[in-house]
């Protein structure tokens, strides 16, 4: 079997579940099979927005982020379900468990996709046969359809899995890059969004082939080191390893809140942010960890979601530090449109015992005092619940906070 594997290179699979939430719902309730089905976010709180939908629904032109009323107009008999994240997390866990039967080198990327490095799995069969077997088992045992890309690296595997949906099985070899990838518009490349595509367009780059041919100097001028990496991807080069621990390193602590109305007042948003910072700090403390990057999630009323990250010079645990970083991010990146949801996530987590904190000349004296007050508040919260006490600034409650991971991680 070894002869079907490259002598020097690697064999990487990208497994991408097809319309995951909808598929999980169908697996739980087979009578939904074949019907146009959509999962709509929080229909009880606001006019629903489609989070994901089945391929049958897509055939009617229904798309993610579309409001329910619009979807209903396209397809009056559309079946709409609220999201059930517990169900999805459970299904996700089963899915990764199945993947790990083939290699320990499985790197989850999100709830419904992951990379596998099967270079050393030659005793199990040819790469294409392993992929076919995985796809068949996911469908039989978990009733979940998937698309799998097979390639010599992560980037190509990801591009390959995207080429055929649902139930695709695509091999993308490096030598096929010029004929398969280069004619495509750059926006179809993994890692390139609207904004980057616009910047590239200004440089006269419209296809992946254009990007592959650009000189390093100009791409670096425009996009920095990321640009150079994107150019390498466009040439089919990607040296990133499949790292089973990557997901753990991205462990994060955070809070998000769906606002009761589309909020356009900066002051109100800052109040919400203060509450989120307080709660995030409380959770960090309870877990005994500190984090050194703060990510702000803003979801606009059109469901468009942005996340912006600020790297701090030292790991923090105090609400004031988290709040300061989140506030700076909001003031820089909020475009003034109505906001539906705000979230704060603290990443780059270290255990408190392992965290070294560089003291600051201008704050070392106050640090001691503040430390005492924060401990008092946390003590009360632990005993009586998180909402029992807030710092004097903004005590009245708005909206209901939701615990959990970054909200965008739950989107398909």
């Amino acid at each position: 079997m070894k002869r079907f594997y490259p002598r020097n290179g690697r064999v990487i699979l990208h497994v991408d579940m097809n319309s995951f939430y909808a598929s999980v719902e169908i697996a739980h309730n087979p009578s939904l099979k074949g019907l146009p089905l959509a999962i709509a976010g929080q229909p009880e709180e606001r006019k629903g927005i489609i989070v994901t939908c089945s391929y049958e629904a897509r055939a009617f032109g229904i798309k993610t982020t579309m409001p329910v009323w619009q979807a209903k107009r396209l397809c009056p008999h559309l079946v709409i379900l609220p999201p059930d994240f517990n169900k999805y997390r459970q299904a996700s866990a089963y899915m990764f468990q199945l993947l790990r039967e083939y290699t320990p080198l499985v790197e989850p990327v999100s709830i419904d996709e992951g990379y596998m490095d099967i270079t050393e799995s030659y005793s199990l069969g040819k790469p294409i046969d392993i992929a076919r077997k995985i796809q068949a088992r996911l469908l039989q045992e978990l009733k979940l359809p998937s698309s799998i890309g097979i390639a010599p690296n992560k980037f190509l595997a990801k591009m390959a899995s995207n080429m055929q949906k649902p139930l695709g099985l695509t091999v993308l070899r490096k030598r096929e890059v010029p004929s398969v990838l280069w004619p495509k518009p750059v926006i179809e490349m993994h890692g390139i969004g609207r904004k980057t595509a616009d910047k590239l367009a200004l440089m006269g780059i419209s296809t992946i082939g254009d990007l592959a041919a650009i000189d390093n100097y100009s791409i670096r001028q425009q996009l920095g080191i990321r640009g150079v990496r994107l150019k390498e991807y466009a040439n089919g080069e990607d040296r990133r390893k499949v790292d089973p621990k990557a997901a753990e390193e991205f462990k994060s602590v955070g809070q998000s809140m769906t606002l009761p109305k589309d909020e356009t007042k900066q002051q109100e948003l800052l109040k919400v942010l203060q509450q989120l910072a307080d709660r995030t700090a409380a959770r960090l403390k309870r877990k005994g960890v500190l984090g050194s990057t703060v990510t702000l999630t803003i979801r606009y009323k059109d469901w468009h979601t942005i996340t912006r990250t600020k790297r701090l010079t030292k790991p923090v645990e105090q609400a004031a530090h988290i709040w300061a970083a989140a506030k700076a991010l909001l003031l820089t990146h909020w475009n003034g449109n109505g906001v539906r949801l705000l979230g704060i996530t603290v990443q780059d987590i270290v255990e408190r015992e392992q965290a070294d904190i560089q003291l600051d000349l201008f704050s070392y004296e106050e640090e001691a005092k503040k430390g005492a007050l924060n401990e008092l508040i946390d003590g009360i919260r632990q005993k009586h619940g998180e909402d029992i006490i807030h710092k004097g600034v903004h005590s009245h409650q708005k909206g209901r906070p939701k615990k959990g991971k970054r909200p965008d991680g739950q989107l398909e």
Binding site: S292, R352, I357, Q358, L361, Y364
Partner: protein, 378 residues
């Protein structure tokens, strides 16, 4: 404009003014070098609007003819190309001539370049600095002051004022302070001055770094003029202008401890080398933290522990240990930076507790001080 000039001297001047020129400027003409030719000699100017540098080559110096001026005039030439061209010309003599519409011919031996120049009238005027009070210090002292302070400025723009060095002049004495809020460097020096003017300004760290690179280690005096928004350093045949940072520099004087609870006397070199060794294993970690513990009357221990790599301990002799027992952690990098900046073979380290800043000074020398904030480990 037409002149010929000695190549090495000219190339050096081009190099010097190039330090002020940035390829990323919003004013396109500032990517150029301005050349002004008069009967007295050749003046080169480079600027990025924050820093401006003027270098002058006299027509004649100590009986030696450096430049032959045929026709005075001015031109602006692309700095990057011009610098490369001048460096690579074949002979010791270069001839430069501006033809019509700013076409410039550069000749040396058999080589001839034609460069498209820019209109010198478009080049911005350098800051006008009124000749007010001037103070002087030897060039090598100025360089030392810069070396001992500028490394401690903040690299982050979160508090822009901390990216500069605070220069305060009181009673004919100059006090220079830089801090990134994790460590602080201070240097005091007497300066020559006729006036009793007092200043309190902040000079961008970047400007001082560039200035230091251009100046030679000589005893020749540098004249310094400070205005509300600019500082001018004037050395022989060289003018260096820098914008000052706006805003008030934080008052750090009350943050520098005056008493001490534990006092060590150490040999600078031995201590530096011990810290360097201890940091070998800590370097991979985020903060590069080492720990210092007082063992007894004449011994301290430097240690570092990286759970995944291993640990290191080393005992260092101290000429004297006074006061309380102590265990303190700090960044090895900050300590090494500070020790390298200090002159003197013996140093004093004074602590007031494991969570308080500590200071390092050369023995018998009050003119310099380095302060470091410790790292809190849980």
């Amino acid at each position: 404009m037409k002149f010929s000039i000695q190549k090495d001297r000219f190339a050096q001047s081009v190099q010097d003014v190039l330090k002020a020129i940035s390829s990323r400027t919003t004013i396109p003409i500032l990517t150029g070098i301005k050349i002004d030719v008069t009967e007295e000699g050749v003046k080169l100017t480079g600027s990025d609007s924050d820093i401006s540098i003027e270098s002058f080559i006299p027509q004649e110096e100590e009986g030696k003819i450096l430049a032959e001026i045929e026709q005075p005039g001015s031109i602006v030439l692309n700095a990057r190309f011009f610098n490369e061209i001048v460096k690579k010309l074949p002979l010791d003599r270069i001839e430069i001539e501006v033809m019509n519409s700013f076409q410039t011919v550069i000749r040396s031996g058999q080589s001839e370049f034609n460069l498209n120049g820019l209109d010198p009238e478009e080049y911005p005027h350098l800051p006008q600095i009124e000749e007010r009070e001037v103070f002087k210090m030897p060039t090598d002292l100025l360089k030392t002051i810069i070396r001992q302070t500028v490394f401690a400025v903040s690299a982050s723009e979160t508090r822009p004022i901390l990216t500069g060095v605070n220069w305060r002049m009181e009673d004919g004495r100059l006090v220079c302070i830089a801090t990134d809020s994790h460590r602080l460097a201070m240097r005091k020096a007497a300066v020559e001055t006729d006036s009793d003017a007092e200043y309190n300004v902040v000079i961008p760290g970047k400007s001082l770094n560039e200035l230091s690179k251009i100046l030679d280690d000589t005893k020749e005096p540098v004249e310094i003029v400070i205005t509300d928004s600019q500082v001018l350093f004037r050395a022989k045949h060289l003018l260096f202008y820098s914008r000052l940072l706006e805003g008030n520099y934080p008052d750090t004087s009350r943050l520098i401890p005056t008493e001490s609870k534990t006092k060590l006397e150490l040999n600078t070199k031995e201590f530096l080398q011990a810290i360097d060794r201890a940091s070998l294993l800590a370097r991979e970690e985020r903060n590069n933290v080492v720990k210092l513990s007082v063992i007894d009357q004449d011994t301290i221990e430097i240690s570092s522990n990286s759970p995944e790599i291993g640990k290191v301990t080393e005992q260092v002799k101290s000429r004297s240990v006074e006061g309380d027992e102590l265990r303190i952690s700090f960044s090895a990098k900050y300590m090494m930076d500070a020790l390298k900046a200090l002159d003197g073979t013996e140093i004093n380290v004074q602590f007031t507790g494991a969570m308080k800043p500590f200071i390092i000074r050369p023995e018998q020398d009050d003119s310099t001080l380095q302060l470091i904030l410790p790292v809190r480990t849980y």
